[in-house]
Symmetry: C2
DNA sequence: TAGAATCTCTACTGTTTCACTCAAGTTTAT
DNA sequence: ATAAACTTGAGTGAAACAGTAGAGATTCTA
């Protein structure tokens, strides 16, 4: 998995929406200002997340975006898969974006074998972490920014 | 970590060199034929690996490439880092290719926090797996291709 | 010592992706 | 009515990707 700027923006926008989860809606402008994301670009991204059913929008004056589901039900895996595509380091080990690579024999490829492990390790993390957990971590980091290193493992 | 075709080719070439580890040298043409890699492209890649001290070459007739170190001393991490750059999913959590991202406050960023875990998980694997292990896996897969799934973990 | 096979080095090229930007349109609160 | 918001689709400049090409240097062998 490699996150493009687009993917990073998507996660940051969802973090803002997660922190403001409730009835009301958040304007693009607010997210853009808060996270320093180019507004027109962010429009695209949120629209994209909408088509994935991750966020929903309200139009017109006093319009904006909100999460379409509870933060606890939105995994990073779902978001990244929609924005970036495969989580796997090579396409031949991807479950949902499988493409065979140029290896002569895929079934006996030791590289594929290792990459499968890498994929599993990544998936295990991003499928467990939700927007809700992102919010909790934001809270914890806000209170004790110096202990940041404790959360690595 | 996302492997480009270039990176995949590099690993496959090293696998061949690992399987043929010894005194003699292997021609580009041989690797190219064996692994179905465009020859001129492979030249570039092997040259690149040479500048990293991963392989060494012999010129002239009966020239070719060999591993510069014992297969057991060449980790996938070293190879991928040289060919692709950072292993981390975002630059702000990379140890050797660090670049700060556009987040307002890096020290309190929960996304960074999660991505650190992802990075650790990936590094843990690719820093442990060597070319030698790749060769052993190739051997095992050759003998029992049907048990491939057992190695996923 | 000529020649062929091999690596070396630099440069080029066409395609795709990335990160935006723009314009024009639709919806809705006031 | 109007302005502030989302919607849609297109456009753009730069960079990365996956090669390709050519001229040169080295070394074995005949
Ligand atoms: S089969 Fe995909 S890397 Fe070998
Ligand atoms: S600091 Fe890099 S993702 Fe937030």
């Amino acid at each position: 998995m490699k996150l493009s700027v687009r993917g990073e923006y998507a996660l940051r926008a969802l973090l803002v929406l997660g922190l403001n989860y409730g009835d009301h809606v958040v304007r693009i402008q607010t997210i853009s200002d808060d996270q320093k994301i180019p507004k027109r670009f962010l429009e695209q991204i949120l629209n994209d997340l909408k088509s994935a059913g991750i966020v929903e929008s309200k139009r017109g004056l006093a319009g904006g975006y909100r999460l379409a589901r509870h933060p606890r039900d939105i995994t990073l895996a779902a978001v990244v898969r929609h924005i970036e595509g495969a989580l796997a380091p090579v396409s031949c080990v991807s479950e949902r974006y499988y493409e065979k690579c140029s290896c002569p024999d895929e079934t006996r490829c030791p590289i594929r074998n290792v990459m499968k492990e890498v994929r599993e390790a990544v998936v295990k993390i991003v499928e467990r972490v939700t927007v809700a957990e992102l919010c909790e971590r934001a809270q914890r980091l806000k209170e004790e920014p110096l202990s940041a290193l404790d959360y690595i493992i």
